[in-house]
């Protein structure tokens, strides 16, 4: 009987929580991280302003994540364009609801100044985009949780898979696309819309 009372109270609380979040049943950026959240990986990132904080600070908003490096001659500009293309496929009012995060594969060279220069050169919206560099020892791990494969080449360039990964507000991978360029992948855009 006592149990039933607790169950009823719990159900009531759940109902209230549900209502507070409207149609979205996922508690946004609150409570313990889900066990399949990439933010379970402790990952200090240094951003273009030189500020270092763990990437779990990105929690609370869906994020489109990709790995890149600033001196990348060919593919990485395309990755940036893909991020923009997905952004522009959303209604203007919704763009602020999703962030884009570019994580460097090249901590040896990609300091905050390089990140800032690239953000300016590629005209990305600094309020929506985060360009950041992990510690050298963490690159293989973040690539591991994101499913990105890479190899440093003899000339200092990187050979890498060019995936855009969509994280929900809790850091769970909900979609990915390897289609890069100014034409967004419609299935990926749809997955982003579902997160808003």
């Amino acid at each position: 009987m006592k149990f039933l009372k607790y169950a009823a109270a719990a159900a009531l609380l759940c109902g209230m929580a549900w209502q507070a979040h409207g149609a979205n049943p996922t508690p946004v950026g609150a409570g313990p991280l889900p066990t399949d959240s990439v933010y379970r990986l402790a990952l200090p990132l240094t951003d273009a302003q030189g500020k270092t904080s763990d990437w779990s600070q990105l929690r609370g908003k869906p994020r489109i994540v990709a790995m890149f490096y600033t001196s990348c001659p060919y593919m990485c500009p395309l990755i940036v364009e893909s991020g923009k293309a997905v952004e522009h496929a959303l209604p203007a009012a919704d763009r602020a609801k999703v962030g884009v995060v570019l994580i460097s594969l090249d901590p040896k060279h990609d300091n905050p100044a390089k990140l800032r220069a690239m953000a300016a050169e590629r005209h990305v919206d600094p309020t929506q985009w985060t360009l950041a560099t992990p510690k050298p020892d963490d690159v293989r791990k973040v690539a591991g949780v994101l499913g990105v494969r890479y190899r440093e080449l003899a000339d200092g360039n990187f050979n890498h898979t060019s995936a855009l990964v969509l994280l929900d507000a809790n850091g769970r991978i909900v979609a990915r696309t390897e289609q890069v360029g100014s034409k967004p992948d419609p299935a990926f855009v749809e997955a982003v819309r579902k997160q808003l």
């Binding site: 990439v38 060919y74 293989r140 591991g144 949780v145 494969r149 190899r151 080449l153 003899a154 898979t161």
Partner: protein, 262 residues
């Protein structure tokens, strides 16, 4: 000559240091390194030999018993506590319980069903790291008497014979094989092994959208191909490692740790 001697001294020291730390049988053996021609062909270093720095490598793969000690000391790596993002659901599934081995996991068998994240955490917990691919390939090129036995047809045959054995049989104990020319055991014929940089093995065959520039999977040049197509030992390892995600675990995939020369 002097440089070679100094190199030998350095690696003797690593081995000796490791021996003291591990008690009776030294756990690591020192490898001198040097120029090494990988069986892989990368567009970016066209047949030039790679340079392997002196390093120490565990004589045998990490066993169930050793991994159990690690899991007890670091319970966040128990199969019932590890975040799914670091290990798939089959992680350590052959153990009787999250903190006990049982009949299907003998203490002296190599540990398998471990993800790359778990293998990496184990090595870091003992101030070591996973070997790189080139270090593994370099150590595994040796037979019992030669540092580079790769052109020997008999050696190749022996390795092929292992691949043709069904993997449903129980794993032998670690350390049963004769040491190779460096003193390392079980590199072939026991388990597959993680390398630190397994995800740098970008095999062109992985790219299902070849020819479509919009779907080009790799940035820039450098997908690898095989320079030595008869070297099945390497070919099969690379095919396997290049197909894995860092959270994957399989029935015959284990690991051993390495240390850089100080």
């Amino acid at each position: 000559m002097r440089a070679a001697l100094a190199g030998c001294l350095v690696f003797a020291c690593i081995a000796a240091g490791a021996a003291i730390a591990a008690g009776a049988a030294p756990r690591y053996v020192g490898l001198p390194g040097g120029e090494f021609r990988t069986a892989l062909r990368y567009e970016d270093y066209k047949g030039k030999p790679a340079r392997v720095a002196p390093f120490a490598l565990m004589r045998t793969p990490v066993t169930n018993g050793q991994f159990l000690e690690f899991v007890r000391a670091h319970p966040e790596w128990r199969r019932d506590r590890v975040p799914q993002v670091f290990a798939e659901p089959r992680y350590l599934q052959h153990w009787a319980a999250p903190d006990a081995l049982g009949a299907d996991a003998k203490p002296d068998q190599p540990v398998t069903w471990v993800s790359w994240f778990a293998a990496d955490a184990y090595c870091r917990s003992i101030d070591a790291r996973l070997p790189t691919w080139i270090e593994w390939e370099y150590a595994a090129a040796a037979d019992e008497t030669h540092r580079d036995a790769r052109k020997d047809p008999a050696w190749r045959e022996r390795i092929l014979a292992w691949y043709s054995r069904p993997s449903s049989q129980a794993l032998p104990r670690a350390g049963l094989q004769a040491p190779n020319a460096y003193g390392v055991q079980d590199l072939h014929g026991l388990v597959w092994e993680w390398t630190d940089d397994f995800s740098s093995l970008l095999v062109a065959g992985d790219n299902r959208d070849q020819g479509d520039p919009d779907k080009k999977q790799f940035c820039g040049a450098g997908a690898l191909s095989m320079d030595d197509r008869d070297n099945y030992a390497v070919l099969m390892r690379v095919a396997m490692l290049s197909s894995l995600e860092a959270r994957d675990a399989t029935t015959n995939l284990g690991f051993r740790c390495a240390r850089s020369a100080p």
